[in-house]
Amino acid sequence: MVSEKGETVVEISHLEKRFGSFTALRDVSLRVGKGERIVICGPSGSGKSTLIRCINRLEVPDKGRIVVDGVELTDDVKAIEGIRRNVGMVFQQFNLFPHLTVLENCTLAQIWVAKKSQAAADKTAEHYLERVHIPEQKHKYPGQLSGGQQQRVAIARALCMEPKVMLYDEPTSALDPEMIAEVLDVMVEFADTMTTVCVTHEMGFARKVADCMIFMDAGQIVEASDPKTFFTNPKSERTKLFLSQILEH
């Protein structure tokens, strides 16, 4: 399962992020290799979202360097837009565009950002909607779908841009329990071929796909190891405590 760490897709070094006087990230470094699948977990408020939102600059870090696909993130708006094209993101709250149909949600950025033709965009969208198992809903509006279906559309929407990395920020935490599996199944399917950074507490999923497990607490990476070591023999006490809490139920 462990991929050969050849090409680097995301390189984060000595990242620091403050919200006012509160430090949400302190000295975080992380390297994501091509094809690698990283799962991040940790207690709420530990800075997981902040970390992955820095990768596509939804948050602007205060210190440190982030290089995505060979391009360093700066204030250059055009460069950021270029990086965002190559980084897909799936949010906890889906954030589909409610005024557009499922198909239009998937074609919008293809047409206006990637400048594809309508026909080509439709074709790609249909391909990915098929792969997330909702081709028949394409003319509905997001409001007409269940949470699980909406999240799968959100995954398809991100994949339609054919990104080099996929970021998932707790993609199943807003879902009713019976819908979690359908979303995780889709994620597992794509994780095989896609560099993935996923914040989640779904440890079953993590065991299945992760090449590297990361545990964060209080804005720092406390532990980073392969899943086997991580689950059976964690080094830090905080990781042990966290795992015992999360695996208990």
Partner: protein, 344 residues
């Protein structure tokens, strides 16, 4: 028992009061009114409306002092204007968006050249001769149409945290115009604007009033639009950013379509307010609809106690019809979107 007794009394009292109001209105407007004849008839029957006054003056109320021979131009413009509105209210109208674009981009220029004249073989009609309801409509529609895009830009600017100068400008602009009464704005643009302009620029009174209206109304529109922008879930901004959309792409395709939909009722209410506010141009000497009616009332040949009442009642009726239909439409749209399939 006690409550129903009291409710009963109140209902009866309300019914009696309503009946009294309605019957006296009906009497005054219709039954006791003078429908045909001259001012002599009105002077004889003073306890009802004097409709001949409105009949005789009607074309002035509508056209102001626009030359009679050229009034077909006004008719043509009004015909297209109301025709287009009629078509647009019907939602399944084919080419709806094309009609909107035509009405916003082509029609205003067309209307201006047609009404103003002085091009081709069309005789020149200076704006000083425009008046009446036509002037009201010109003022209201120009300031409405111009204030919406300006308001959107101001609202976006006010939220542009990464551009502090733009933001500061928009905040100052909006708060300044919202803090000043419209009358002051009109006086200022009418009498002070020329002081800042080179003497060679001949800025006519109507244009000055329009500038005042547009500045004023765009500030109000901006606040309405800002409400819509702020009402939108932050996730919508983030999702469009995360897809690599540029600022303007995301505003145009994701943010504004949703924000404006939320704000349609607010925008329509602002438009209604603006429509009524146009009557204030009276004080800078423009004779709009209400101005023409007042001018008619002031005419000593039509001196009779029921003439002013009739004039103002007619003005109220016309303004009410326009504003009420706009507010019915606003409520219809509001209902439609709040029950809409794509609510979230």
């Amino acid at each position: 028992m006690f409550f129903s007794f009291r409710n009963g009394i109140l209902s009866v009292a309300a019914a009696v009061f309503l009946f009294w109001i309605i019957s006296s209105l009906v009497n005054w407007f219709f039954l006791d009114a003078v429908w045909f004849g001259t001012i002599e008839d009105c002077r004889l029957h003073q306890d009802g409306a004097c409709w001949p006054f409105v009949g005789v003056r009607f074309s002035q109320f509508l056209y102001g002092f626009y030359p009679s021979a050229e009034r077909w131009r006004v008719n043509l413009v009004l015909g297209i204007f109301f025709g287009a509105i009629g078509l647009l209210v019907y939602e399944r109208m084919p080419y709806r968006s094309k009609i909107v674009i035509f009405m916003l981009c082509v029609f205003p220029l067309f209307a201006w050249f047609l009404l103003r004249g002085g091009v081709l073989w069309l005789a020149d009609v200076p704006t000083g001769r425009w008046g009446g309801f036509m002037l009201t409509l010109v003022l209201a529609s120009v300031s409405i149409v111009a204030s919406l895009p300006l308001g959107i830009l101001l609202a976006l600017g006010r939220r542009a945290n990464t551009l502090p100068f733009v933001k500061a400008f928009c905040v100052v602009f909006i708060e300044f115009w919202r803090g000043v009464p419209l009358i002051t704005v009109l006086f200022a643009t009418a009498f002070m604007l020329p002081l800042f302009m080179p003497a060679s620029v001949n800025f006519d009174q109507l244009l000055r009033a329009m500038v005042g209206f547009i500045l004023f109304s765009s500030a109000y529109m901006a606040e309405v639009v800002r409400g819509g922008l702020e009402g939108l879930d932050r996730g919508q901004y983030e999702a469009s950013d995360a897809l690599g959309m540029s600022y303007w792409q995301s505003r145009k395709r994701v943010i504004l379509p949703q924000a404006l939909k939320i704000m349609i009722p607010g925008i329509l209410l602002t438009i209604i307010g603006l429509f009524k506010d146009t009557t204030l141009v009276l004080i800078i000497g423009l004779l709009d609809f209400l101005g023409m009616i007042q001018a008619g009332i002031a005419d000593p040949r039509w001196g009779s106690p029921n003439v002013p009442f009739t004039g103002y009642a007619f003005a109220a009726l016309v303004y009410f019809c326009f504003c009420y239909s706009m507010s019915v439409y606003a409520r219809y749209i509001e209902k439609k979107y709040s029950e809409g399939r794509d609510r979230r």
